[in-house]
Amino acid sequence: MKIDPIHQFNIEPLFTIGHIGSQTIAFTNSSLYMLVAVAIISLLMLASGTQLVPGRLQSVAEISYEFVASTIRSTAGSEGMKFFPLIFSLFMFICVSNLVGIIPYTFTISSHLIVTAALALLVFFTVLIYGVAKNGLKFFSIFVPHGVPGYILPLVMFIEILSFFLRPVSHSVRLFANMLAGHIALKVFAGFVAMLGFSLGALGWFGGVLPLALTVALYALEILVAFLQAYVFAILTCIYLNDAIHPGH
């Protein structure tokens, strides 16, 4: 049996809805899972009731709310709560789509760089536009750290500016690479089990125990990573927004 760990990332058009220039716009499996993520989040947040003593679903909704709210407050201060809907949407979208993507035979939206790059650029331009609109030219003081001796200031400024413009790259590649690598590793180890079983017969059945155990362990790790990468994406968004809100720091 041949292992094809890349196959799971294929974009399969389900139906075509039109063309923009030479590009075909199709409703793909990726679009379907975006819809699934949006539907799950909406269902969780809207169908969960508003009782005084929350049930399970309502507890999950409220814990997500409080979790994101406290993340914003602790990293960007209470002024960051302006961006609560944005950060909540980002966190929940990435978290839910990652967790859905962990289920075998599903598709992981964030395993495509174009998606994570779009989200990272959304954050980047939000920071840039809000920062300039709110602070004017003072926003660019984030490139001039305090207490740096004059003779190395140009170098430090160069590094700061470079790192600022590389933010969307690291922001998007971190999520993309984590999801991609995790899914490939899972597929490879799971493929070993089947390969050993089919090629070596009875011996392979025993031999498959080790990769199976690894697959189970890796699967647990991937569930953690799915949540953690969404959290990292959200907290980095908060930290970047904090620059726009408080450029003096």
Binding site: M1, H7, A61
Partner: protein
């Protein structure tokens, strides 16, 4: 898995080429032909999610959390008021009890004093009465005694006159007999 039972290589290879055939054999995340579709749908769904989250989901969940917070705070405040009330009631009760106690003591003292005074008055009246009776009795005794004594003198004078008559045969004159009796009674 079922297909792999039949022949290990060919069906899997077929599936692979089929998969490659759909997308020109590249690495799916770097296939630029899929970018436009992904970006369009990402924009549509993310904007939809943002609208749902900001207009419906967060106000609803936040409202529920806030309502709970308010309810808890209200309940705590109410509990505090009730506690204050019960504290005040306890204090009032204790004050009332103390004043009632002192009033009871005052009433007790008063009635005891009254009873004492009354008993004293009665005792005095009784004593006076007794003293009057005693004085009267003494008076009676004294008069009785005086009468008795005067009777004794008369009897003695009669007896002396009779004795003198018997002895001498003379009737003594009354004045001398009385003088003699008096003298002997005095002596």
């Amino acid at each position: 898995m079922a297909e792999s039972h039949g022949g290990a290589k060919s069906p899997a290879a077929g599936a692979h080429t089929e998969a490659e055939g759909g997308h020109g054999g590249g690495f799916p995340p770097f296939e630029s032909s899929t970018y436009a579709s992904q970006l369009v749908w990402l924009a549509i769904f993310f904007v939809a999610l943002y609208v749902i989250v900001s207009k419906l989901a967060l106000p609803k969940v936040g409202g529920a959390i806030e309502a709970r917070q308010n309810k808890i705070e209200g309940d705590l405040a109410e509990a505090q008021t009730l506690k204050d009330q019960s504290d005040a009631a306890l204090k009032a009760y204790e004050g009332e009890l103390a004043s009632a106690r002192s009033r009871a003591q005052a009433i007790g003292n008063e009635s005891r004093d009254k009873a004492n005074a009354q008993a004293e008055a009665e005792r005095k009246a009784l004593e006076e009465q007794l003293a009057a009776k005693l004085a009267e009795a003494e008076k009676t005794i004294a008069s009785t005694r005086a009468t008795a004594m005067s009777n004794v003198r008369g009897i003695a004078a009669d007896a002396a006159g009779t004795i003198v008559q018997q002895l001498t045969g003379l009737v003594p004159d009354a004045a001398s007999v009385n003088a003699a009796v008096d003298a002997s009674l005095k002596g």
